[in-house]
Subunit: 258 residues, 4 copies
């Protein structure tokens, strides 16, 4: 429990103006900043460079959509059940942005930071960690993809976009690539750096703390889910999904035969 006095620096208002941190919404922000710039400033508490914004936009595009995934299916079914509450449908989808797909962001970024801060040289620390994870049969966070082989096309693109921006040092991207080479060497085969792993590396280049990275995935995915709702409004799939699941998951209880 914190001993700090509770306080907030996010927003206040007078009768004539609203303030987001230290800026007037009407007098300074609206018309002058994009949504991407504004979320960067508001969440992270500092102004982004133009390169930072290009990178964050690329990240937000990357995580927005991947077709009829568990999040999109949950959103579409919930919209079918409660069309009066569009926000519930988005919420049901966002509840899928959990450990299994997006938690990798935190695991991969935390791993990179730990390896870079290790007392040993990076390569030594990395090789030791890879051996440990393999021995414990743990996943290698940020590596491997069941579909995009040998390489995830989003990864190289994210790295390219990030590395040409002013002020980006490439420390974490380089570390990710060195870790990848060590993993390939240990495994004796190539494992791709997947999109989530790449996003982790470029967000570290932006000094985004690992503990809030998932937040950007949530914002991005919320836009993708709204697109699924709007498509569902004109081209519904929910009834089909319900039917096909009932048809293809058989009831195997003993009820009807006893």
């Amino acid at each position: 429990m914190s001993k700090k006095t509770p306080e907030t620096r996010l927003a206040t208002h007078t009768n004539e103006e609203l303030y987001y941190r230290d800026d007037g919404l009407v007098s300074e922000l609206m018309g002058n900043f994009t949504f991407t710039e504004m979320m960067f400033m508001h969440i992270l508490g500092r102004k982004p460079s133009s390169g930072d914004v290009v990178i964050l936009d690329a990240v937000l595009l990357t995580l927005m959509e991947h077709g009829l995934t568990p999040s999109a299916i949950s959103t579409r079914l919930t919209y079918h059940s409660a069309p009066e509450a569009l926000q519930s449908a988005v919420a049901a989808g966002l509840l899928n942005v959990g450990s299994q797909f997006i938690g990798t962001l935190e695991n991969a970024s935390t791993l990179l930071m730990a390896l870079l801060n290790d007392a040993d040289e990076f390569d030594v620390a990395a090789r030791r960690k890879v051996k440990e994870l393999r021995a414990a049969k743990h996943p290698l966070p940020g590596f491997g993809h069941h579909l995009h082989r040998p390489d995830d096309p989003r990864t190289e693109k994210l790295f390219q976009i990030a590395l040409v921006q002013d002020g980006i040092k490439g420390t974490y991207i380089d570390a990710m690539k060195r870790l990848s080479a060590i993993i390939d060497d240990e495994l004796g085969k190539h494992l791709t750096i997947n999109a989530t792993g790449a996003v982790a590396a470029v967000m570290l280049e932006l000094d985004v703390p690992p503990e809030i990275m998932r937040g950007f995935a949530v914002i991005s995915r919320s836009a993708g889910l709204v697109a699924h709702i709007h498509e569902e409004q004109s081209h519904p799939t929910a009834r089909h999904i319900w039917d096909i699941v009932e048809e293809t998951v058989p009831y195997t209880g003993d009820a009807l035969t006893k």
Copy 2:
């Protein structure tokens, strides 16, 4: 229930590329489009003009944050209870984007469209509708604010930004202003066009259908809620909120005195 064959136009993928509608994510979109442009294209299915993007950005900034509101409080408490599931905290906040604050978007935009499509002249139809709503003691959707008086500063700014963009006709903004004048005349006093009413009008200028407008509010607010979570990580308020609520909402059952 739709008789249409289920289908989706939102996304597909090959081993080498992902497609959002008809564009390659890696080959065409990343690095070339902002998140605001991408969500406009993906949700609405058409490319925005540069003016459309300026307007949508202004809308997204407007709806992002309003301090320690019910949505932000729900998010902060849920993060305190389940910090391992950041997405749950955002979802709990978004469940507050319902009829009482944001539903106005749909009510105000639907009202404007109905008045503009009425067989009678706008002024006649509008005056009749205002009388009806007042007689039924219904709210006037998009009008009035308990704090921002006489005028909501966001409204004039949204209209200004929208009206200088190429291709914006101003039909709905004009209609909103005429409706406002009629309301003031009927009431004998000035009622502001609130921010939600103004957003409804400018989103109609962008041809956003009323049934998906709330989706943009959800996306915008998700960014605001992520900012609240990040602040909560360093400056927690949840324990204080819990305590102050327990202290100031007395137990009035008969339990202890029987």
Copy 3:
């Protein structure tokens, strides 16, 4: 907005005891009351008769489960994505307890109350209302089922259980049956009283206000969804659901052919 001073009568505690309304949890409730009795007392603020409890138990059993419905599918997918947050999976499923399936509870019970309070005789008021709803192409709340024809087996059972309990007058059950006869006469064919309609009638016999009826459906369904999660833990279906949906909802954009 209420002018009442905020207060709560639900719970308080000392170092030695917790109180639910006016009863000591440890000294009076635990070991002496079932969960069904406790929720009746706590939600409705009065002690149930033994017949009330039998009826509420029958209602809770009725609404608990209906196989792989949208709520169960959303729960299973969300559990697959975020197994560390079981509560999120239940929440995603419960967000499906909305207007399309369970909202009928409120519509049917409100309709019955309105007809019984009408200045006209019940049959006259009912026939007029049925004609109105049909003319407006509105559904008849509580009537019809796509599967259970000619009759929903749960309905007759609920009525039977309710009518043999001491203190149950049968006013609302009788009204539901008379309304059913009038509907059949107007339509020239038989439409079943569905389970939701029957639940509405028996909950009115218990004096449950329409505005909180949905709450009992939520509690009941939460137990069904926990069963789906426990089955998913040993017999996962989520990956299959994802795959079968992707396979059977084709991508029809122009992307790959341009």
Copy 4:
């Protein structure tokens, strides 16, 4: 990923009957089983003894309510924002049933099972584990309460109720008490077994697997949250909560002074 063919044993239906596992809902279950019995059978897949039901009822009462906690506050605020979607308000509250309060169930039960299965004697294993947890400054799961000192009144009651039921061996309750004595000895002071720790022990007596224990907490809490919604309908607190939070969490940004 499972290689098992997807299947479900939970429910199926014909035109005349619904089946929950191997029983007819109408012909065998309704009127014959309480909600507590039904959830036990449906979730765990076996019939409870009468003693099992008494214990589960006591558990469900224990976890149902604790006044204006984060879950209840989130539910009340969300209901205020979206009264048309009662299920959303319950869901927002349930999202608080996470690691910080209820995760203890899994941690405490897993710890007890590990100690009982340890190659060493219980006391040796327990003392070693307590030393480990203390050295790592980790919490002792199931122990300590900021309010209920020296003892949590619910704990002794749960143990009493459980130990007098036929068929309950008391293995886990005994283990919990021995662990408690060892903790007190190590700390040199008394730490209570809290209610969550006690629930973990008695649920182990019922052979409830740790991975589904949280599900029972979710079901129980859903009933408590419905009670908060019904109270909010007649005695609203949400506007007060919003106001008091805004008043007592000061804005400390630099905005107004620059």
